[in-house]
Symmetry: C2
Subunit: 247 residues, 2 copies
């Protein structure tokens, strides 16, 4: 029996990523995390702090994938508009959640709970909290959309909270094979043939460049150990043959 | 006179980024580079090595922005399908460019120029080369789409080659102001007011989290030095006032 594929997209919200001022650290982290729990990340988009960009992107992604993870834009300042945009995308209202106000009052004096801080207590009708063990104020989840902070430490804590509640599929297994110094162009034909003969396996070739030359790795991925192992054996045999010819 | 805004999108092509195996280093680099030369990066998408994903994404982005920069998928192996997808998106044919074959023969023996390596010499009809000073085989540009390698060192060389040929707009100027330890929630209302009073300026507040607390920075961006300076002065005066109240 093959488990249903569970898919996801990440929507990164933030002018600071697009201007290059802040280098994103969340995409790679979420990608690896989801792969490890059996959710296939299929798309990432980065959009500015602009309602006209966020709402259509969110609507496109949430209809297409099992889950959408957003990062950024949930702080107290005027440029934090993610909650408003998510509510708009779902056609629901935001409300001030008294449970979040209570959490904020654990760390703030009542006179410091100003109007802008109260903005962080607003969540869409129908949303549930995503716990923030770092700075208390939670993210939220509404249907298949999970709204998280942009600050990496907080985003990571939120992902740990929400992950056990998600439906996951079969985990993608992966094996990396060093290409033994053989150039990509030398093994490309044989590798393409192996990919054709193992259609349920995903085979990629990834060059890295360093010290003036390429170092290639071949990655074999599958949701089934037996099919992956068969393809790995074929790749290893191919590399041995090519190395012998060369030598 | 205000220069026309020149916009761009980045399309990252690669299963390895979505699986988390490879951590992208190109998005942040391109973002900063384009900002510095007066091109506004407005959107980034990451898609898998799948024609049905690449072609529609490329068509959506190239119609919407002045330029689209793609990274990845231009090597010799079966999973490198970017050139095919770009040709399909533009409805043109790929052809084997004898100038690229000649470049390859500078580094390869004729008997090593196999069918898969020849794939790298294919460019769409109407495309021009984007020079690769690292490993010779060029990227290409067709209309407003610039197709680059995924390997960072090669991508960076290609960007250096193509950048002087692009139309650029007014450079976005930027000033970062340290929030002097004042919490975001304390300055959020005043900062929002300043943003309202300086509508041509983009003001963002960016928390970082480290050693158990937040360190906030306020970033003021504008294409005009005078309007930026006015907003920066207002932000600095606000922070001084708040710091005085606190002290």
């Amino acid at each position: 029996m093959t488990a249903k594929n569970i898919t996801a997209a990440v929507l990164v919200i933030g002018d600071e990523i697009l201007s290059g001022r802040t280098k994103d650290k969340n995409i790679g982290y979420i990608a690896e995390y989801l792969t490890n729990i059996g959710i296939d990340l299929k798309e990432v988009r980065v959009v500015p702090d602009d309602e006209d960009e966020i709402v259509p992107a969110l609507n496109a992604l949430r209809k297409r994938y099992s889950y959408v993870f957003t990062t950024g834009g949930i702080g107290p300042t005027h440029d934090d508009i993610t909650a408003d945009c998510v509510a708009k995308a779902f056609g629901v209202e935001l409300y001030e959640d008294p449970r979040i106000i209570a959490m904020m009052l654990e760390r703030l004096k009542p006179e410091d709970l100003n109007e802008m801080r109260r903005r962080m207590a607003r969540i869409p009708v129908g949303a549930e909290h995503v716990k923030n063990t770092i700075s208390k104020v939670p993210g939220f989840r509404i249907e298949n959309v999970i709204v998280m902070a942009g600050v990496p430490a907080i985003m990571q804590a939120m992902l740990d909270d929400v992950a056990p509640k998600l439906t996951t599929g079969a985990r993608m297994l992966s094996r990396t094979i060093d290409a033994m110094g053989i150039p990509e162009g030398t093994y490309a034909a044989d590798l393409g043939q192996i990919a054709k003969e193992h259609p349920s396996v995903i085979i990629g070739s990834y060059p890295q460049f360093g010290e003036g030359r390429f170092h290639n790795q071949i990655v074999v991925r599958s949701k089934e150990a037996s099919t992956m192992d068969a393809a790995v054996s074929a790749v290893e045999a191919m590399l041995r043959d090519l190395a012998a010819k060369k030598g």
